[in-house]
Every structure is written in C-alpha cells, then in structure tokens.
Amino acid sequence: MIIDKMEQSLRPVETPMMPYPEKYITLATGEKMVVRQIAREEVPLVLEAVKPLINVEKDFYDIVAARVYSELLGYYRYRVKDEYCLIGTIDGVIVGVVNGRMVNEKVGMSYHTLTLRQGLRIGAQLFAAKMEYHLDYLNQEEVWIVAESPNGFKRWMIEYELESRPEVWHELGGVPTYVLTKALWEKHKASKCTGRRPVSEKLMETSMNPNLPETYAQIPGYKRCGK
C-alpha cells in the first residue's frame, strides 16, 4: 500500500516489540485455551467479537467493550503507538481479549481485559498473560493499571498487592493509578500465571482464523447470524 506523506506524518513511529510467545492453559473443564498475540490484520475479526457487548450495561461490559473497540481500531489504523492485543481461544472460538501498550522502555500501560466466555476465570488468566508480556518478555520494569469494574479491580489490587501511585496519570483516566512492579510480579506470578509452551502445531492451527462466539451468556437470547 502506498502511504502518502500526510498519512506517514500521522502514524507513530513503532518501537520493535518482541512478539508474545503463545502458550496454552488447561482450564478447569479440561479444555485448552491458547493465548496468543494477534496480528494487526486480525483486528476487524476481533472487533466483531467485541461488538455485541457494547450494549450490555451489566457488570460494566458496555464501557469496557466500547473502549476495547476503539483501542483496537486505533491500533489497526496506526494511530496508537506500540499497542498489542492478546486473545484467548478455546476450540477455535475467541473467548477473551486483553490489550495494552508500551509507553517507553520501562513503563507499560495496561488497557483492558474483556472476557467473552464466563465461568472459567478466563479474564484472570489473560490479565496475567498481559503482565507476563510486559514484565517477562518486553522486559519492562512496571505496568500501570486502572479499572472500570470496582470488584474486579479490588481483586487485582489485593491479589497482586498493587502499589498505589496516585501522582501519575493513567491514559484511561478515572481512578488513581496502581502499579505492578517487577518485584511484585516476581512475588505473585507463580500463583497467578500459568501455561505451557510451545503450543503444538495442531493446537495452534485451531487458534488461527478463530470463530466468533455464537452466543454470549451476557446477552440472553443473542445468536450470531452469519459471520
């Protein structure tokens, strides 16, 4: 694609980021969830998975879904610097989405965690995978975190013993910023982060070109028509 000068000037310069090495986790039902990073071209598909939740008021799904949608669109259209998105898939269906970005070498900015399939603590696992990416693979020193959902946030705040850092401003605004430092990650990661690598070719195949969820427990009566 030919990029003209104007477009070039609107695109942020991208920092080379090591890709997230995919892994798989055996969930409580015995199902295997593949956790992998998406390529930019896959954003439109993920947007379709997220879209139905934009109208679900319960449990803050609407604001999280709407913001994830806009963040991923920003990533897709080259308007956000150094953003990434990880998805979880089970049997070839997208079950969760997490995203964030690198602010600089040292600091990561956690954006959102959106669980599509409920009941298996998928959100907790994807959040941990995100933290793993920033602190173990991108070799950053800390990740800044805020949340929309009070209960979910309190759980992370307590479980990871997040450091309160009200003086810094998180890009998502809202409540005071909390920080997961490398030290806190080292302390808690054994009990929070799991999964095996490498993912077999056969399993990985299921995760590529994943299907969108047919139904959403959050939206009673919803059924996807077409793709």
Binding site: I25, T29, R121, T194
Partner: protein
C-alpha cells in the same frame, strides 16, 4: 402426634436472581409449591402458617419481617407468619417448625419458603456476612471465616485419615456431574478431575481458597429460593399429589467456638442429629436410599457421610473414590448437585435439600433418579457445625 407430609414443592434456578426483587424471588418459589399442590391463592386457601427461612434478609437485603410481607404478597392473609434464622440451617429449621405446628394440632397446612439473595453485595462483604455466625470475640474479630475453619478442619482430616486434595476434587466432580441433570442448579459446567487435580496448570486454575481447600472444593455464592407445602396427613385429600411423609427430625447443637470442640475431627452435632432423626423415624443408616448432605466445603460431605453412619469414620473418602456415592452407587449423595454445584443461598439450602428428596421419592428427578428410592435423609449444617438439623422423608405409607 399427627403425621405430617409434603404435598407441594417449588424451587427457583439458583445463581444470579434477575427476576425482580428479593420478595419476587420468594414468591416465585412459593407459588410453584402452591401450584404443585393445587392451592388457589384466594379466600379459602387453607394455608394456616407461613415460615420464611433467611439468614441475610436483614443484614444483606435490609428487610425484616419478611414472612409477614410474603403472606400479603401471596394473598394468604390472615395466615400466621414468622421469619426463621438459624444461619445456613435456617431452611431445615423452618421445616422443623412447620412440622411442629402441624403435629401439635395448631395448623393443618404450612408453607415454608427459604430464600437468600447474596449476589447483591461484593464477595468480601458476603464473606463477612457469613462470618457473623462465628464467635464474635474469639473468632469473628480475628478475621476468621467459614472457609478458614473448613480449611483447618480439612487439614486435620488429611492428617488423621489420609483424605487427599484429589478426594475433595472427586466429590466435587461427582456433584457437578449430578447438577447437569438438575435444571435449577447454579453451576452447569463439569470440571475435569485431571484439570483441577493433576494437570500442570491445576495449581493456578484451581487455587487455594483456605489451604488445603481449593476453589473447586468450595461452593459458589448464590441467590435463590425453595419452598415446600406441609400438611397434616389427615387432610391430604385437599391437595393434588400424594404426600411424602416427614418420618423423622433430629437436631443438635455443639460448642460455638470451633476451637472448643471435644474432638476436632468430629462433627458431633451431625452424628447426634442424625441419631435422633433415625430414632424418630424408626430407621437406621442402612435404610437410607438417597441423601442430601450439606457440602458447602467438599470435606463436609465426606465427614458427614461417616457421621450419619453410611461409612465408618475415616473411610468416607475411600467410598467416594470407589464411586459408592454416585447415582447408581451404594448410597447416592447429593443427586441435586449438592451445595457445590446446585448452589448455596443460605436460607434456601435446607428447604432445597428437602425439595430434592421429595422429587426423588416421587420419582420426579429426571436424569438423576435413584431407582426405587423409598427413604431419604437431609443434613443441614448451621454455623461451622454448631447447629445441625437432620430430616428423614419417606414415600412409604406405613410407619
């Protein structure tokens, strides 16, 4: 003394109640039971007394005098009404009081509804609310919780009898499998034994809640209501269905502070309550065909199955390993899914256990029916075992 039977049962889907208010939830279970019995909700309804079992209607839902309100909501005025609180054993206690009201001759027909709406508060507030049943100075003020005592109790059972974490998972999986055949169960998902007990990821996927108890060994937080209509056997023809008789009731209390229990691995109140119920019903453990045992923590199902006499002390987990407590096994336990998978709205649980036994004894437990079940036992565990109610039901006519 007059004989008492159950002629109607009702049960909401346990989980997150989104059908309206707390009162709506109680009404939903109540009308199902009344419809089941063929009672018309207008003048001449014949219901003399309503008991509502709920531990948190005041503390959590900020409503008192719930039974009085329910009578009006159901158009059952001027029936007598009381709200009964006995912690997680509120349900069975309310049924016991219903039994007493009829057996004494005071009433002919009594409606008992148990209900709890806990998912309106956060998990931490819920844990705190449940902990209020503990000894204030000696336990609650320390931040001790029911799971904490269950964890300590489990550790002792592991030490003394060799119960393993995998045994707890075996019981949990059995209960989840049973719940898949129970349309009112909260959790409709079966964990894989391998995934929660043995896989490399198991330690993170099934984390400790109060070690050695893990997440999949502990019941969920649920909203829900269940109802039964009791009647004197001598007026049973007023109602549609053949009654299931309440053959025996037993109850016992134990020390409040758990540290003061005589034998720390015993659930003495369970043993005494069951003995009293067996005596009243004129049966023994061998006569029980199906049981609902209070399994808020999976260790409790194992130990209760021993204390009520199904297995020798220290062998309940061995029986579970062999499949003796599955549907089709020697003594099916928690065919409903138990508190683990069916859910545990505190006040509703005792009534819910009895609803399941009635369905089993009527032959209405589709998909999870214990063939030819004649006698059922329910054990409803209050506090951390300091107040236990055991109820025995039978579908047999003669005593």
């Amino acid at each position: 003394m007059r004989q008492v039977g159950i002629v109607g049962v009702g049960h909401t889907r346990f989980g997150k109640w989104s059908g309206g208010t707390f009162m709506d939830m109680l009404c939903a279970a109540a009308v199902e039971a009344l419809d089941d019995a063929g009672v018309k909700l207008r003048e001449g309804h014949g219901i003399d007394q309503v008991f509502v079992a709920s531990m948190g209607s005041g503390m959590v839902n900020r409503q008192s005098g719930v039974a009085s309100a329910l009578v009006d909501s159901l158009n059952l005025r001027p029936a007598m009404a009381e709200t009964i609180e006995n912690g997680p054993a509120s349900g069975a206690s309310a049924v016991k009081l219903g039994y007493m009201a009829i057996a004494s001759g005071l009433c002919d027909a009594v409606l008992v509804v148990g209900g709890e709406m806990m998912r309106v508060i956060s998990g931490w507030e819920g844990t705190d609310f449940v902990a209020t049943m503990l000894h204030t100075e000696g336990e609650y003020n320390y931040g001790l919780t029911l799971p904490a005592f269950a964890g300590m109790f489990t550790r002792l059972c592991m030490e003394k009898y060799g119960v393993t974490e995998k045994d707890l998972s075996i019981v949990s999986v059995k209960n989840h499998e049973n719940a898949m055949h129970n349309p009112v169960a909260h959790i409709r998902l079966v964990p894989s034994l391998y995934a929660i007990a043995e896989d490399e990821d198991a330690n993170v996927i099934n984390p400790y809640v109060a070690d050695p108890l893990r997440m999949y060994h502990v019941c969920p937080v649920s909203d829900g209501a269940a109802a039964v209509l009791l009647c004197a056997m001598d007026v049973k023809d007023r109602f549609l269905k053949k009654p299931v008789k309440i053959a025996g009731i037993g109850q016992a209390t134990d020390t409040h502070a758990v540290a003061e229990r005589e034998i720390p691995t015993d659930l003495l109140a369970v043993r005494v309550a069951a003995e009293r119920a067996y005596k009243m019903a004129g049966v023994t453990a061998k006569d029980i065909d199906v049981a609902e045992l209070h399994d808020a923590f999976q260790i409790l199902e194992i130990v209760e199955s021993e204390e009520v006499g199904f297995f020798p002390r220290g062998e309940g987990h061995l029986a579970a390993r062999l499949g003796d407590t599955k549907i089709g096994g020697r003594i099916p336990i928690n065919t409903s899914g138990g508190l683990k998978a069916k859910g545990h709205p505190l006040g509703a649980t005792g009534v819910s256990q009895i609803v399941e036994l009635v369905r089993q004894l009527r032959g209405e437990a589709e998909g999870r029916q214990v063939q030819g079940a004649k006698v059922g036992l329910a054990v409803n565990f209050g506090g951390f075992g300091n107040n236990v109610v055991a109820t025995i039901l039978t579908n047999q006519e003669e005593d």
